[in-house]
Amino acid sequence: MLAPYLPILLLFALATGFAVFSVGIAPFTGPRRYNKAKLDFYECGIEPTPQPMGPSRFPVKYYLTAMLFIVFDIEIIFLYPYAVANKALGLFGLVEIILFVATVFVAYAYVWRRGGLDWD
């Protein structure tokens, strides 16, 4: 009864074990050379955006990246199941997925041409 789930449980255990092990072992094996950058806030590996003085607004540029990420993430979420079942879905499925990709492409073209991919 539970047999089909055994591999999943095993994978869980393996993943947890790997995460705990790597984080746990790091303080003992890694070198410790502290500098200013290491104590800084972590923002995607980029220098943190400086906080403005006074009640002015600060640019929120990450939202564009985040939105784009979600759009293409969703695209991938639909593409994977299609890739697995493309034979069964046949021509109808192919047309549908092309239409879907074309729709996302329109969004991509818009963002690209209107400077959504430029940082400044």
Binding site: R57, V84, A85, A88, L89, G93, R113
Partner: protein, 527 residues
């Protein structure tokens, strides 16, 4: 695990058969919207406005023509295949659906012309760059520059495509998707005013938050109905009421929550709180679009839910419709009386009109369906033109919507005052205007089943008539203010839009029979 996937890979999935021709209007509008997005990406800024306007108009006209060609269709699509009937028949293209689709398209065409008006204000009524911080140096530059924003056209087309799906959705999940497709662009469009931008952004935020709230109600109702009927199809829910052994509490709570979501979109009291602020804050042509097209789509959906999904539960929802109709008419008429701003008056008037439309829904007859369809058509054109007229009377800092600024307008511009008078008389329901014929047919359809309600409706339309007539009297008989507002001369686009609105208002008042015949011929559902 692996053999599961392999099994899925080997079985051919039966593909649904879709009547693409019956869905063509939706595809055309969606295609035009996508093309509009590509135009934004590819066409240089100088030509963008013209190209966008062309794409919008051609798309809407083509869809309207196809709707006309589809007349008499009775079909539900996609047809059921295999053992997966979940989305089978989720769209039903029938007389009511096509009539309302045609109405939405015709109104959207007129609204698009109003949005494209560029003569009355520098640039256009739409802000050139909505993301610029209000009050900043960039913002001040933009108010005087004639740079124009063209993304509003694809946004509008996306909203229209949602409005085309909304009244033909037979499946509540699809109806919800359509609700979101039509709402999301509207939330954005409400925040795009060129003048009084903070007010506009506030309107946008309010609309979004309350709209999301109403969507949650809709979804909760949907979930309860699914619990009751094991299906989200309206015909399935209808059958389940005869066969399901589950508690009626699920059914009626579900219906009530569903109706809250729908009545919100139709701005019916007591779910009207957003209406006035949003109508006032949004750019006036966008307000015109919202007040006409959204109403048509929302009432179409209410009509389908009640008349297809719950026609046998009539005795249970009729008192609810009575109550909200009365609330809406009274709130609209009484609060409209106390307003001193014309845009707010028109907003309250739209709440009152929502009540009048609901009066037509208390009886499930062909006649009442036709009367509601006719009413939303007449009201749509009148309200479009009325909001359009607001764009013409201007102060240096934008539209002069204060009632006091309109006094004595007839002396400055007899044409504007006369046209506005015709529109206001139509809203008041004076004979020889479309407002009268619309009200007459709705009330006549409701008279046999809901006589007292019709009496209340007549009384509140008499109250409402007072504030329409007050504007008329002010325009013709009051002294103009010292620094009277300027009357802008509309360009070709707004001129065409206003002319269409006024001509339809008068023609449907004098010679309504062909359209009434069309509506009664089209008043059939395919479940």
């Amino acid at each position: 695990m692996t053999h599961l996937l392999l099994a899925a890979g080997n079985t051919a999935v039966s593909t649904p058969s879709v009547s693409y021709h019956a869905l063509a209007p939706i595809f055309i509008v969606l295609g035009a919207a996508m093309l509009g997005v590509l135009v934004e990406a590819a066409v240089p800024r100088a030509e963008r406005f013209t190209v966008q306007l062309m794409v919008t108009i051609v798309g809407l006209v083509a869809a309207l023509v196809v709707v006309g060609l589809l007349h008499g269709t009775r079909t539900t699509t996609p047809s059921p295949t295999g053992n997966d009937a979940f989305f089978a028949g989720s769209l039903s293209i029938d007389g009511v659906g096509l009539f309302l689709q045609g109405t939405v398209l015709a109104l959207a065409l007129v609204a698009a012309l109003l949005v494209s008006e560029r003569s009355v204000d520098v640039g256009s009524p739409i802000v050139a760059s909505a993301a610029v911080v209000v009050g900043s140096a960039d913002d001040r530059r933009l108010t005087t520059a004639d740079r124009v924003q063209t993304e509003v056209f694809p946004l509008m087309l996306f909203a229209v495509s949602g409005m085309l799906i909304f009244p033909i959705a037979n499946n509540l999940i699809l109806m919800f998707v359509a609700l979101e497709v039509l709402s999301l662009p509207l939330y954005l469009m409400a925040g795009l005013a060129r003048r009084r931008r903070l007010l506009s952004q506030e309107a946008s935020l309010k609309y979004f938050l309350l709209g999301a709230f109403a969507s949650a109600f809709f979804l909760y109702g949907l979930a309860l109905l699914y619990g009751y009927a094991d299906t989200v199809d309206l015909p399935g829910i209808f059958t389940a009421q005869q066969t399901s052994g589950k508690s009626d509490v699920l059914l009626y709570t579900g219906l009530a929550l569903l109706l809250v979501g729908l009545l919100f979109k139709a701005s019916v009291a007591p779910f009207h709180n957003w209406t006035v602020d949003v109508y006032v804050g949004a750019p006036t042509p966008v307000t015109a679009f919202m007040a006409s097209c959204t109403k048509v789509a929302a009432f179409g959906a209410i009509l389908r839910v009640l008349f297809v999904g719950f026609s046998s539960a009539e005795w249970n929802w009729r008192p609810v419709i009575w109550a909200v109709a009365i609330a809406s008419m009274v709130v609209g008429a009484v609060l409209g009386l106390t307003q001193t701003d014309i845009k707010r008056i028109l907003a309250y008037s739209s709440i009152a009109h929502a009540g009048f439309i609901l009066v037509g829904m208390v009886a499930i007859t062909k006649q009442s369906t036709a009367s509601v369809m006719f009413y939303v058509l007449t009201y749509g054109f009148t309200t479009l033109a009325a909001f359009g007229m607001l764009m013409l009377v201007r102060d240096p800092d934008g539209e002069a919507t204060q009632l006091a600024r309109w006094s004595g307008l007839a002396r400055k511009s007899p044409v504007v005052a006369t046209v506005m008078t015709v529109l206001l008389l139509s809203m008041a329901g004076i004979p020889l205007t479309s407002g009268f014929t619309g009200k007459f047919y709705v009330f006549r359809a409701a008279w046999d089943t809901a006589g007292p309600l019709v009496v209340i409706a007549l009384l509140s339309s008499a109250v409402a008539a007072f504030f329409y007539l007050r504007i008329v009297v002010m325009m013709f008989f009051a002294e103009p203010p010292v620094d009277s507002p300027t009357i802008a001369i509309p360009g070709w686009a707004a001129s065409v839009a206003l002319t269409v609105g006024v001509v339809v208002t008068i023609v449907l008042g004098v010679f309504p029979q062909p359209v009434i015949d069309l509506a009664s011929k089209a008043s059939y559902f395919t479940g």
